[in-house]
Symmetry: C2
Subunit: 337 residues, 2 copies
Amino acid sequence: MSSTQEANLTELPVKRPREEAVEENGGISVTMEESNGVAAAECISTIIPGWFSEISPMWPGEAHSLKVEKILFQGKSDYQNVIVFQSSTYGKVLVLDGVIQLTERDECAYHEMITHLPLCSIPNPKKVLVIGGGDGGVLREVSRHSSVEKIDICEIDKMVVDVSKQFFPKVAVGYDDPRVTLHIGDGVAFLKAVPDPAVIVDSSDPIGPAQELFEKPFFQSVAKSLRPGGVVCTQAESIWLHMHIIEDIVANCRQIFKGSVNYAWTSVPTYPSGVIGFMLCSTEGPAVDFKHPINPIDADCSHVNTKRPLKFYNSEMHSAAFCLPLFAKRVIESKAN
Amino acid sequence: MSSTQEANLTELPVKRPREEAVEENGGISVTMEESNGVAAAECISTIIPGWFSEISPMWPGEAHSLKVEKILFQGKSDYQNVIVFQSSTYGKVLVLDGVIQLTERDECAYHEMITHLPLCSIPNPKKVLVIGGGDGGVLREVSRHSSVEKIDICEIDKMVVDVSKQFFPKVAVGYDDPRVTLHIGDGVAFLKAVPDPAVIVDSSDPIGPAQELFEKPFFQSVAKSLRPGGVVCTQAESIWLHMHIIEDIVANCRQIFKGSVNYAWTSVPTYPSGVIGFMLCSTEGPAVDFKHPINPIDADCSHVNTKRPLKFYNSEMHSAAFCLPLFAKRVIESKAN
């Protein structure tokens, strides 16, 4: 093989974004269509024998690739393209619209942090609403909290739930908890029907079906639905890549939420730039100090309902997640005025 | 272009590791040779028009890629292959033996943390020895400390120094400090000649010229060279990828250093798994509490000698860096016995 061919390959996803799906010699290349009014055509998901590469206008100029052992599932739901593959070193991988949502190797970091950051910050959480999170990983983590009596999950895309139950049993195990009720539908509409939960928003990026979950009206609906001292935790992108998005979210949340508004972040190797952030907010009422957890979960006993012990979260990591590098702290704290 | 060609490209670096360097149609593919007795042939550095991909047996099954605007420098020193390219979104990038050493966009995280974690943990550091770190980034950070009277740097590869001065003036600015003396040579030998410094080991990975810097005799030499209460900080890989290496380093250091032995980590997007760790040790003598810095540097005034303010480090980030996820904490603390 000549280097000419090499050159063509790497430039393909950027230069020929609308190329039709091809399947030839075992190679598979999937091209996005318009979804939710967003031009998603440039979000290319390319699976070729050997490697999956994640390329998106959300992180221009870089791509993370995983070696593929076997493609296990490919489908197109009403909302997005869904792919599951066995990687050679990260276990099974779930990909939506060309973007890695979880790998078996590092999903612990994301699911444990997005769940326990809010739930360990309030005394005795009773009701929890999960928006998105169809894979069940957040449910698995919520179920470690014995005070919780009711867990509702509202996922817009049933294919995500089905695929997770089939291919990711250690993640979808969250659905086995009898406190869980699954609703397939729009999280924004559902929010209005369920009063006073703690809310966890486990969404994909703001390009695609999750776009609405990053906008002001959504945060206003969440704020209305929370009881006094209620909390919400939303997936809030990367400080290295998306400070402009984070800046807007923080500004909106400071207007809308009259309690605490804090940004936290953690390490997830297979997410772009290797980190993901969380926006944590509380309403007026009993004060919530997100940085100092008051409702610890016991690492040794917390696996009773979930079949595996915690891997990532502990109280130290909880507090550390709110410590921000100078460049991010300057921007986020400037929004406090 | 057919998908057959795509397939060939992505498999190339793994399946044909010893292919000769080719330059054709603007494409460049560089193949390692044996270096330092280590079979480095599998560490392939492939630069093709459009993208640079980082593939190594140190992180099998995954690769991070950056879009290349222009290749600025390619050379082969006595120790390693050296490449500098202009990336489309991470600024200029320095690559040694196929592995990204720094990018202009995120070098702040690595250089600020590896330097200020040790130097902010001791009162009034006077002498500092940097081993490796030929790019000058650690020097730039050390020079923020006004108590420091003498800074020695021992870099084995003069080409790294020259290339940094030519292409990374904001990093190599560290050499402008009149307190700095550059020694080109073996850090291990040099250590024996310079008594009682604080030591910062800014090395590449343990495959290649830096291998010795991860082994027990090196840590023994460092321990001997330190004054009572002296400190060392070494680059110590990723908790997500290299727990086996970290486990060995921690076990060795607990045997050798009679003061504090702590592991810290931070986010660096362009390093594999998005994180890098640091081993921090002190000798017998005045106790050093690495987790609680006693020698803060002022973010606003610290740019006097270095032309830019801090971007990443602050005292909160310092303490947070020692908080470890459960899976890493279990392994690292088990070595305390």
